[in-house]
Symmetry: C2
């Protein structure tokens, strides 16, 4: 916990920047980047509010903006997210065989981590206080919007 490599710290910071950009737009502050061989190939943030979207969680937005990648690119990718990926986003990582996910925090929400690990994906937990603070503040201010985002 909290022992990321320098590269992982750098890319998690990019995901946090995406979360902050989403918050500034009036959206849900969750951000994500997809990295292949040390390069960001897609970056995004939750766009439920901004685009009236039921599917553009941060991770989905990052994958969509990465475009149509080859299977071998996904297979050497790391997905960074400021928050533990939900069932949808976890399932998407499984579909594409993304082998490694770096998670900002999983205290305010926890996706199906045990199942994802059972499918062979490495999950790295940063337990980052900036990620937690973004979600704690947002959930306190907009609980109904947060519940909508996780189907509650």
């Amino acid at each position: 916990m909290g022992m990321l490599s320098d590269a992982d710290e750098k890319f998690l910071q990019e995901a946090i920047s995406e979360a902050e950009a989403g918050l500034a737009e009036g959206g849900i502050p969750i951000g994500s980047v997809l990295v292949v061989e040390g390069q960001i190939v897609g970056r995004g943030h939750n766009r439920r509010v901004q685009q009236g979207s039921a599917i553009l969680h941060a991770e989905m937005d990052a994958l969509e903006r990465a475009g149509r990648l080859k299977a071998e690119d996904y297979r050497r990718a790391t997905l960074y997210s400021t928050l533990s990926p939900c069932d949808m986003c976890s399932g998407t990582a499984l579909l594409y065989g993304i082998p490694r996910v770096v998670i900002g925090e999983n205290r305010t929400f926890q996706g199906p981590e045990a199942y994802v690990r059972s499918r062979g994906v490495e999950l790295v937990m940063a337990d980052d206080p900036r990620c937690r603070r973004l979600m704690e503040d947002f959930i306190a201010q907009r609980p109904e919007l947060w519940n909508e985002d996780i189907g509650v």
Copy 2:
């Protein structure tokens, strides 16, 4: 198998119509509709080719086009798909607590059905020859595109 109610047959036919529309656009022939209380609230088809999308599988397209629904709407919904939902689409059904999925066929591709059932979702298998034929013909003609769609 193959013993759908009249309502399920009707909505599966709508999903097949979506698959055929996708095929006519040069896309992957998989279609889906989301039904709440006997009404189609979202309909869609795979748009990988048409929109260069990595996330718009048929079920995702139908859910996105349904817009931001309330949790209680998803909880009484049925999702129809011409093909067994993949990890991504299955995860999305789980996120939103969709309790029932009607599947056109699962012979050309099978998603994580056992896991989805273990999470409490009812899966109804139509084993429909029209759905199978659409996929068999497509896979024979465009195997590389099909593999891309399922991350292979």
